[in-house]
């Protein structure tokens, strides 16, 4: 065929419309949402800190310095704090025994401790967030615990996304028997108590991070599967799907090339709100003692340890609790912002 270009029949086209890809539009709307942008920044900071934890100048999270147990958060070196805490304790002891001052043995102990503080470099450590009952750095444990918690949130979400999208699309697109089988499985799994199932799985296969991932992911794709199935069912009769079929596209191509991008908005919002759920679930399990095993920490296990001593050493509870709360808040705000940004109903608004 001769490529003879026709003269364009239309008048010169108008200047390019604003925006472009639906994703670019959504991104624009998200950035205009202040809460969501701030949340995004917070999440980015968390990601940076937890992922970069090995590079940060913090003490190893599992290293115990028993002499430094239960030190409060402070900017001063650990030795000073330790000495202070010990002398205050001995003074209280003397007062309780109605003695005028410390006896010789106690003086000697404080003296040797002061010498050690001057000579041993370990006592020059700083613990910005204090230490736990085994003398481990709370800041380091918080960072590494965040790593585990966020990882569980992400991996769990990704796994349930993959399972939910694939199974939901297949059920929704093909319908019939396949749909029936998949959805009845979903119904049955829905009927089982979620936490009980996870607890049984953890008890059966032992406590490890991998088992925790598997147990959480196995249960969590159900809702997403239903959501995706509904979306695909409503989209599969759209004319552009028919057009793709008339172009000779097969079912695989139609599902994953044409339908999934159209459902991705809902999926993204849903997944963002799912990350906090995973973190909460893991924390709950850790709180019950079924989560990660020591010396590995997660926010949940840190909170559990801190809660036991919260009247004596409140920083051991406050640190992880605040870190976790701020992260969950940010995730939820981001999810809300994403829903607003990706909702086709709000698309008409500027």
């Amino acid at each position: 065929m001769q490529p003879l270009p026709l003269t364009p029949l239309d008048a010169p086209e108008p200047a390019a419309l604003p925006g472009g890809s639906p994703w670019a539009d959504a991104w624009r709307r998200l950035r205009r949402n202040r809460m969501a942008s701030a949340s995004l920044a917070v999440i980015a900071l968390y990601a940076l800190l937890t992922l970069g934890a090995p590079l940060l100048p913090v003490h190893p999270y599992a290293e115990q310095v028993v002499a430094h147990k239960n030190l409060p958060p402070s900017l001063r070196p650990a030795g000073e704090l330790m000495l202070e805490a010990r002398s205050a304790y001995l003074a209280r002891l003397a007062a309780a025994e109605a003695r005028p001052g410390l006896d010789a043995r106690e003086e000697a102990e404080l003296g040797s401790m002061a010498r050690a503080v001057r000579t041993d470099p370990v006592h020059r450590r700083h613990y910005l967030l204090g230490t736990d009952n085994l003398g481990r750095d709370m800041l380091s444990r918080l960072l590494y615990g965040g790593r585990v918690s966020i990882l569980i949130g992400l991996v769990g979400t990704l796994t349930s996304m993959v399972l939910g999208i694939v199974l939901g699309s297949l059920a929704g697109y093909h319908g019939g028997h396949l749909d029936n089988v998949i959805m009845r499985c979903v119904d049955i799994l829905y009927g089982l108590p979620y936490m009980l199932l996870v607890i049984i799985l953890m008890a059966l296969f032992g406590r490890s991070v991998v088992n925790l991932f598997v147990a959480l992911a196995l249960i969590s794709w159900l809702t997403l599967c239903r959501v995706v199935r509904g979306q695909v069912m409503s989209l599969k009769h759209a004319e552009f799907v028919e057009a793709a079929r008339a172009m000779g596209a097969g079912p695989g191509r139609i599902i994953f090339r044409h339908l999934t991008p159209n459902t991705l908005g809902v999926i993204v919002v849903f997944s963002t709100l799912m990350v906090p759920q995973f973190i909460m679930a893991e924390s709950f399990l850790s709180f019950l003692g079924l989560g990660v095993s020591a010396p590995l920490a997660s926010w949940g296990s840190l909170v559990a340890e801190g809660a036991g001593v919260m009247s004596l050493y409140p920083w051991q509870l406050l640190g992880p609790a605040v870190a976790m709360t701020v992260f969950l808040f940010a995730m939820n705000f981001l999810g809300d912002g994403l829903r607003d940004a990706l909702d086709p109903q709000s698309r008409a608004q500027p």
């Binding site: 003269t7 239309d10 890809s21 639906p22 004319e239 172009m247 000779g248 097969g250 090339r257 159209n262």
Partner: protein
């Protein structure tokens, strides 16, 4: 019109006694019931009829795009029965050798994919072109379809195109694999009147240049008169009359065709005559009574019309009708 030369050409698509029935809660719907026609190389065939007369279902049945299997009939494409082909073989033909343009350009492009992605899909699937070659071909097709600045526009999203432009994209996409047949299912119904003529002109121009045969589905006799070599008038899932366009317009045989022509204003007549509508409504396709489906609206209906469907009566080369008014041809 490419005219007489095409009429004598070889038949590339032969639809024989096509039946597409749907089982619904209300009963059996015979959307297409015994449709036959031939399409020759380079010919433009019009399928005309009211809404619900089975035009679109006929088109979808040809490509096997209806959900239920055909109730009967054959679709011979170069002698190969498409309705009995395995799915994968049929997919290889769709879009490559028989392409389709849909009615509503606003919804037939995927809003989440760039135009380039959608245009290159068929080329990558069928022509085994690399990304670069496919992109080049897509841009060339867009230019042919009269889209200015195609190199830039191709990377935009459908919502950045107007309705007419989108239909141009659809046409460019459908023709990009150089198909032998283009099925255009009311390609202009959703567009402004001013754009309609441009789009029809574009389809005509491109298909003639590429030697593509066209099945043009429309409810507008005016569109058919201007573009088609021959036409089939459909009523209630059957073909009432078929023939070369000029012949049918000059000498309509079937009362339905006559009614249709009387109900359309014409510019080439001296005195402004009154337009005569066809009385009544098309019958429901659910459990259609026996006989000619048009008898309830036909002013020349006879007793036999209510009892049996008439056979074909031939009135000239390629011109035939199904009506009891004319003697049945042997």
């Amino acid at each position: 019109m490419s005219g007489g030369s095409a009429v004598g050409g070889d038949v590339i698509l032969s639809v024989q006694d096509l039946r597409t029935w749907f089982h619904t809660d209300q009963g059996l719907v015979k959307a297409v019931d015994g449709v036959s026609f031939d399409l020759r190389r380079g010919e433009t065939l019009g399928l005309v009829g009211e809404s619900g007369s089975g035009k679109s279902v006929t088109a979808l049945s040809i490509l096997g795009l209806v959900t239920s299997p055909l109730a009967g009939g054959r679709v011979l494409f170069h002698g190969q029965d498409l309705s009995r082909l395995p799915r994968a073989a049929l997919r290889a033909i769709r879009g490559d050798r028989i392409a389709m343009v849909f009615q509503d350009p606003m919804t037939s492009l995927n809003p989440f994919l760039r135009v380039s992605t959608q245009m290159m899909e068929g080329l990558e699937l069928h022509q085994r072109l690399g990304r670069k070659a496919a992109r080049g071909r897509a841009i060339e097709m867009l230019q042919l379809a009269g889209i200015a600045a195609a190199e830039r526009r191709i990377d935009q999203y459908p919502h950045q195109f107007s309705g007419g432009m989108r239909q141009r994209v659809m046409i460019a996409m459908a023709l990009s694999c150089n198909p032998e047949i283009l099925i255009a299912d009311e390609p202009t119904s959703a567009l402004d009147v001013t754009i309609q003529a441009q789009i029809l002109e574009l389809v005509q121009d491109l298909t003639r240049r590429m030697g593509t045969a066209v099945i043009l589905i429309t409810h507008s006799l005016g569109v058919v008169a201007g573009t088609c070599d021959s036409l089939c008038v459909m009523y209630a899932g059957r073909i009432a009359e078929r023939g070369p366009t000029g012949e049918v317009f000059a000498r309509p045989l079937h009362p339905y065709t006559q009614g249709l022509i009387r109900s359309v204003p014409r510019l080439d007549r001296e005195a402004p005559e009154r337009l005569v509508p066809i009385p009544g409504q098309p019958p429901s396709l659910v459990d259609l009574p026996p006989g000619c489906p048009f008898h309830s609206r036909c002013d020349r209906a006879m007793d036999v019309c209510r009892q049996r469907y008439p056979g074909a009566s031939c009135a000239g080369p390629g011109h035939s009708t199904h009506c009891w008014l004319y003697p049945e041809s042997p």
